[in-house]
Symmetry: C2
Subunit: 566 residues, 2 copies
Amino acid sequence: MEVWRIDLQKQEFQKEPTRETWQHLGGRGLLARILLDEVDPTCEPLGPGNRLVFAPGLLVGHMLSSCDRISVGAKSPLTGGIKESNAGGRTGLHMTKLGIKALILEGISEPGSWWILHLSNQGARFEFAGELIGKGVYESARLLLDRYGEKAAIALIGPGGEMRLSSAGIQNLDKDRVPSRINARGGLGAVMGSKGLKAIVIDDSGGEKPPIANLPAFRAAQKEFNKALMEHPQTRIYADYGTAAMSRMSNGFGGLPTRNFSKGQFQGVETISGEYMRQLLLSRGGESETTHACMAGCTIRCSNVFGGDDGKSIVSPLEYETIGLLGSNLEISSLDTIARLNWEINDLGLDTIEVGAALGVAAEAGWMEFGDSERAMDLLQEIRRGSPLGRVLGNGAAITGRVFGVERVPVVKGQAMSAYEPRAIKGTGVTYATSPQGADHTAGLTIRAKIDHLDPEGQVALSRGVQINMAGYDTLGACSFAGFGFAASPLTIRDLLNARYNWNVGEDILQALGRDTIKLEREFNHRAGFTSAQDRLPEYMRREMLPPHNAVFDVPDEELDGIFDW
Amino acid sequence: MEVWRIDLQKQEFQKEPTRETWQHLGGRGLLARILLDEVDPTCEPLGPGNRLVFAPGLLVGHMLSSCDRISVGAKSPLTGGIKESNAGGRTGLHMTKLGIKALILEGISEPGSWWILHLSNQGARFEFAGELIGKGVYESARLLLDRYGEKAAIALIGPGGEMRLSSAGIQNLDKDRVPSRINARGGLGAVMGSKGLKAIVIDDSGGEKPPIANLPAFRAAQKEFNKALMEHPQTRIYADYGTAAMSRMSNGFGGLPTRNFSKGQFQGVETISGEYMRQLLLSRGGESETTHACMAGCTIRCSNVFGGDDGKSIVSPLEYETIGLLGSNLEISSLDTIARLNWEINDLGLDTIEVGAALGVAAEAGWMEFGDSERAMDLLQEIRRGSPLGRVLGNGAAITGRVFGVERVPVVKGQAMSAYEPRAIKGTGVTYATSPQGADHTAGLTIRAKIDHLDPEGQVALSRGVQINMAGYDTLGACSFAGFGFAASPLTIRDLLNARYNWNVGEDILQALGRDTIKLEREFNHRAGFTSAQDRLPEYMRREMLPPHNAVFDVPDEELDGIFDW
C-alpha cells in the first residue's frame, strides 16, 4: 500500500512508499498522524496550506461486513480544528484495491478552474469538470457514471462545496450507485471545493484486494465476527427500522431535540418514528425498501429507500439524525416532507445535521415559522441560489446564530449537535463537549448504556470509553454498528489485524488505536489554539432547563477537563 | 466616587462603595479588573452573563486637555475576548460629575422591550424607549435632547446595536451635541442592544467636579502639561489637517490599505489626503471646520466638520482610519463620498473600520466592484434594512469572509485591522497580533517611530512600549494625542495623580498602570480560551507579498510570544 500524493496547483502526481510511522494506521488514526505531520494547524482551512486526505481503514478491502469505510480529513473550516468524517459506499474499497493507503491532496487549483481527478492503475490524471459546475450531486453523479462507466467509485461535492460552505460534505456512491454516502460533517466538501476539485473518480480495474498474510486465520475470525453480528438483537432492529428506531427512544428519554433544542420531547414523534416509517414503506411498496445495505457485504442493512405515495424513491437513506434535525427540531412531523428536505440537502452536497440545526436557529431568529415545511424548502432554495441568506445557513448553525444575533445555538467548537439532547443524554453531552471533532454523536454516543442519562455522575467515564472505542473503529474502517459484532467477539479485531498484516497485536488493540488517535487529534487542536474553554457546551445549556425533565447540563467542568487523563 | 450598578432584568439600581482593589484604577484598567472579577470569560457575549461597564479614566473631570474620555467594556461579541473602547465627548465628564467611578449594567431586559436609562443626582430610573427603536443615531439623539434638555450627556446605540450586530458601537455626544464620539470597536453596541438598552442619558445638574486633594500642585502640573502639548509640533499638524494627515504618510510607507488589503499604495491618495481636505474645507466654508474639539477644554482640536459643496455639514469628524477603510481600501477616492458613507455608518451606529473592512471583503467576493461608491451606499442600506446580506456585513469582516468563502480577510481575533498595513508597518502588525483587544491601532500605533517599518527587527520591543503606554493612557482617560504632551513632560502624570488623589505614585506610574492592565486583559482572554495561536496575523499576510515593497509579515512567532514576558 502506497501514499498517492496530488499537487492541485501543479497538477502533479506521485506515489510514495508509506512512512514507517504511518504503516500501522488507517482511517481516522492515519488522518490524525498525516495532518499533524503535514498541515500547519494555524493555517487558513480554505487556503493553500490545508490538505485534504482520504484514508481507508485498516480492515478495508475484504468486504467484511460494515468494515469498508473511507475516512476523509483536513483542518475543518467549520471548527477550525482537526476533522475526520467517514462514510460507507464504494470509495474505500476501490481505493484499497488500487493499493492506496492514503490519498493526499495539497495546494489549490487556479482560481475558477474546476477539475475531476481520475485514479486508476495507470495513476492519476486531471480532466475538466466544467459542465458539472453548479449541478446538483445526483445529476453530477449520473453524468460521471455515464462518462466513466457504472463500475466507477466516485467521491464528489455539490453546489455547497463549490460555494465553500462550511456545512458541505463529500458524497460517495453506495453499492447501487446512489451518491448518498456522505463524509458529511465539518465542511470537508468546502475544503475540496477550495482546491477546485469537483469529483474523484476511481476505476479499480486491474486492482485487487489487498493480500492477507494468513488467510485461514482471517476467515476464521471473519466467521466468528459475522456470527456475533448476526446474532446481536440490535442487528435485527436496524434491519427492520433503520436508525429511525431511535426517534421513540430519544423522545422517551426526553432527549429528542425539538424546536431548536428548547424541548426534549416532540408531540409529533409518532409519525416520525421508525415503527411508523416501516409500516408506511411496507404499505407503499414500489421502490421503497425498509432495509438496504450501503456497502457490498454488509449484513446489518440499516439503510432504507424512502419511497413516496407513487412508489418512487424520494431519498435513500432516511436516517434518524436527519429526522431529528429536520423533523422535531423544526417541528415538522411529516416523513414525506423530511425526506424531500433530505434529498434537497443531499443534492446541494451539505450535511443534514448542520443545515437542520441552522434552520432551527434561523426559525428562532424569525426567518421561518417552526413547522412551516414550505418555508424550510424555500430556505434550501436560498442556499442553492447562493443568496446571502442561503450562504449564511449553508455555513451552519454557529454562523447563523452570529449573523442573526441568536443566543440559543446548539454547537460545540462551531459544529452543530446531532439529534441527542445533551441535557437529557448527558454522556453524549460529554462527548459533544470534549471530542476533538466538535459536537458529533458518531464520536461517542452513549444512549444505549444502562445508566441514568440525567444523572451527571459516571458520564465522563462512559463517554471516555465510547470515544476511545469509536476512534478505534474509525481507524479500522468499521461502521459503528459493526461494533455490536466486535463487542460480542472482542478478540476478532486482534485476530483479523494479525491475520491480515502478519502483526502481533494484543487484545487491547482497539483501545490502543483509539487512544493514540484522540491524543494526536487533541495535539493538532492544541496547536490550532484550542484549550479547555472550547471543551464546553453552549453556556445556555448549563442554565436553561430542558422540558420535560427540566434538566440542565451539570457535568462539572473539572470532570470534563480530566476526561483524557489516562 | 461610587459604583453604580444596574440590573436590567429586575430594573434595580444600587450604589456601592468602590472596592479597595478598584480604587486606584479608572478607564481601561478598571474595566479589565471589573470584568475579570465579575464576568465569566466563557459566557455568551449577548447572553445574560455578560456585563457592560462604563468607566471614566482616572484624570477625567477637570477638563484637562484631551483627558475626559469614557471607557466602555464587556466581553466582546466580535472577538470573544475582553474589549475596551474609549471615546471623547461629554459622557466621561458628566458621569464623573455625578460621582460615578463605574457604571455596571448586568442582566438583560424582557426580550423585545427597549429602555432609556436616566442617571442624575436623584439616582437611576428607566423610561420607555419605544418610539426611538429603528431610528438612526442622529435622529434619536435629537429626540433625546428635545426630551431631556440640551445639557444632557447621552450614550446611545443605533439600529446596528438594536440588531446586535458585532460591529455596533456606542455613540456619545460631543461638546456640540453631535453623537459622533464612538466607543466603536468590538461590538459593545451589540452588548448594549442585547440588554434592551437604547440610550443612557446623564443629567449632571447638581453634580460637581471631583475634589482635588492638592489644587496648587494640580494646577502647576496642568500648566506644564498644557505647555508641552501646545508646543509639540504634532499638535499644530492635527489642528491643521486632523488625523487625515496620515493618508500621505501611510501611502509613503507603502502601508495604506488598498483594495481589501492587497496593496499598500493607492493611486487616488492625493484626493483623500489631509492637505487636500484642508484646502477643500477652507474653500467651501459654511459649516465646514478644519479644526474642532470633541471635548470641552481640548487644545489639540484634531476633529473637523466636513461640509459639502453647499456648505452644510456632511459628517463630523472625518478621520484618517475611516478614509483608509472606506476610501483606499475600497478604491474610492472622493472625500465627499467617503464622508457620506461615514455619516450613514454613524447613523446606523456601527464602526467605520469594521464595516469598511467588511465591504472590502465583500468586494473581493463579488458583492460590489472596487471603486463603486453607489453600490457601497446600497450595501449600507442593506444593513439598515436588516437583510441577510446587511447583517452579514454588519457583523464585520471575519463573518463576511466566512459566509462568502474569502481567504483574504484582514482581521486578528475576529476584529478588522485599521488603516495601517501590518506588512509595511510591522510594529503595528505586532500590536494587531498581540494586543488582547484584537487588531486595533489605538492599542499601539508605531508609525511615528524612527525605525525602518519594513525591518522585522526591533518591532516587538517597539510595540511593547507603545502598547504599555496606550493601556496607561486609556486608564487615565487621556486621548492618545495627549500623549504628545505627556511624553514631553513625563512627570506631569505622576504629579497630576498625586495632586488629584493624594497618592504617592512614582514616575513609572503610566507604565505600571499599562502593564497591569494588559496583564489582566490577557488573563481574561486566557480564561476565555485564547492561546498564542490567536496572537497571529492572518496566514496569508505571512505568505502573500504586499506591493510596492513586496513585503510579508515576517516578525518571528517566538518574538510575538515573548512580547509580554516582562
